[in-house]
Symmetry: C2
Subunit: 245 residues, 2 copies
């Protein structure tokens, strides 16, 4: 009997050219398909909830695939982790209804962007956060973040390459937390345009550094003009944190 | 005028064959000497406070070197970091007395060993902590840790390759802390024998897992016999944290 299997996956994206399979470049999807095919005894294709770019990480990426393989679902994580490289880890597995689709069934997603805010860099964060030397004013960043909550046309924060027809998305929740070593920006939304989180973060960091006032955020969003927003934050600070179904 | 310069250095040791210079293998010392020689305009040799093994990390390694170069001391960290690979960072620089020696002047050192205690591995800790699946009993580990405080012959925790004549060391302080993601074992001592922290950690983890009672720690230490102690913990959990002068 064919089963639809859902996996929750965490990976350090530093050594990969993103999630989605492509020619002549190593991707998370290619590794997962190759190792899972070996585990299940037949060629299988996986569907991912989000296409993370090169260097972007995941704590809770979700994928699904159909298999006729007979390995019990509770044994999948340990068995898969035994075959996967150590920078990709299957954290959970479940059998789901045949109509479950990792991408189309997703109701919302949380991305977290980590900023390491210190005069000098930290070797342990070199691939895991964006190093910002200047002191960030979190109060101003929080005021600007509040502006993007709700339903908006996010064209101002969409990369030129983005192909989605409709630029309207709903940001359910945002947060800016001082963690032990980093400042974590949280974005919980129903969907995200291409580079949207990185473009929002680049703009927020410019506001935090005092390069532009926090009052700019509203007009930038309203302009729907990518040229009004700030730079694109680099990939290594971005984490696909959680997908809700 | 020749100056004696002290640097405080942090590095991710994952990609190096340890601190100390060796033939045919890339080490932290070699990289530092090569890049600092370029910065100061003449060949220079550095002395490190502790010789970390392959895969071992540092937050506060200390080195010193003599230079006739004229770069102001306050500019050294940023200038050096501009030349160093991103996994080695100079955090501080100071001009010190000519008789300061990074190793011989050290009064004590703190090492921290990080254990990631979770059923499944974490891709972000793969090179930065020791993954232990079974649940660790921290109370028992703390009782065993207390036994090694004070001045003892630590021969039971010394690797066969260790060359130090005198196996007596003083452990000033120990600690076992639950951090956000890891269990951190702290060892503050006047000196350490070869693999001593890793052999202590291996024994403590066996106690934490219930493989042997915590009451064994005293007799193991008293035996002065390496065969009585536990396994050597792997290098990637070990951090040279701080050196006191």
């Amino acid at each position: 009997m064919e089963r639809n299997i859902r996996l929750t996956i965490s990976y350090d994206g530093s050594n990969y050219h993103g999630f989605q399979r492509q020619q002549n470049a190593l991707t998370i999807q290619e590794i997962l398909e190759e190792r899972l095919s070996r585990l299940f005894g037949h060629h299988l294709k996986i569907t991912g909830a989000g296409r993370t770019d090169a260097g972007v990480h995941a704590w809770g990426q979700v994928v699904n695939f159909f298999t006729t393989g007979t390995i019990p679902v509770e044994r999948i994580p340990a068995a898969a982790n035994g075959l996967l490289p150590r920078d990709i880890v299957v954290k959970a597995a479940a059998t789901v209804d045949a109509d479950f689709h990792a991408r189309y069934s997703a109701k919302s997603k949380i991305y977290i962007y980590k900023v390491y805010n210190h005069l000098l860099p930290d070797p342990f964060y070199r691939n895991l956060a964006w190093h910002i030397k200047g002191s960030l004013d979190l109060a101003k960043m929080r005021q600007a973040l509040a502006v993007v909550q709700g339903t908006h046309d996010f064209s101002a924060f969409r990369a030129a390459g983005g192909a989605a027809a409709d630029p309207v998305r709903t940001m359910l929740q945002t947060d800016c937390r001082q963690q032990s070593g980093t400042i974590d920006l949280l974005f919980h939304g129903t969907g995200f345009l291409y580079h949207m989180v990185r473009n929002l973060t680049g703009t927020l960091v410019e506001i935090g550094l005092g390069k532009r006032p926090h009052e700019d955020m509203g007009p930038i969003l309203a302009s729907k003009d990518r040229n009004q927003a700030g730079i694109t934050a680099p990939p290594q600070g971005l984490y696909l944190s959680e997908i809700f179904y």
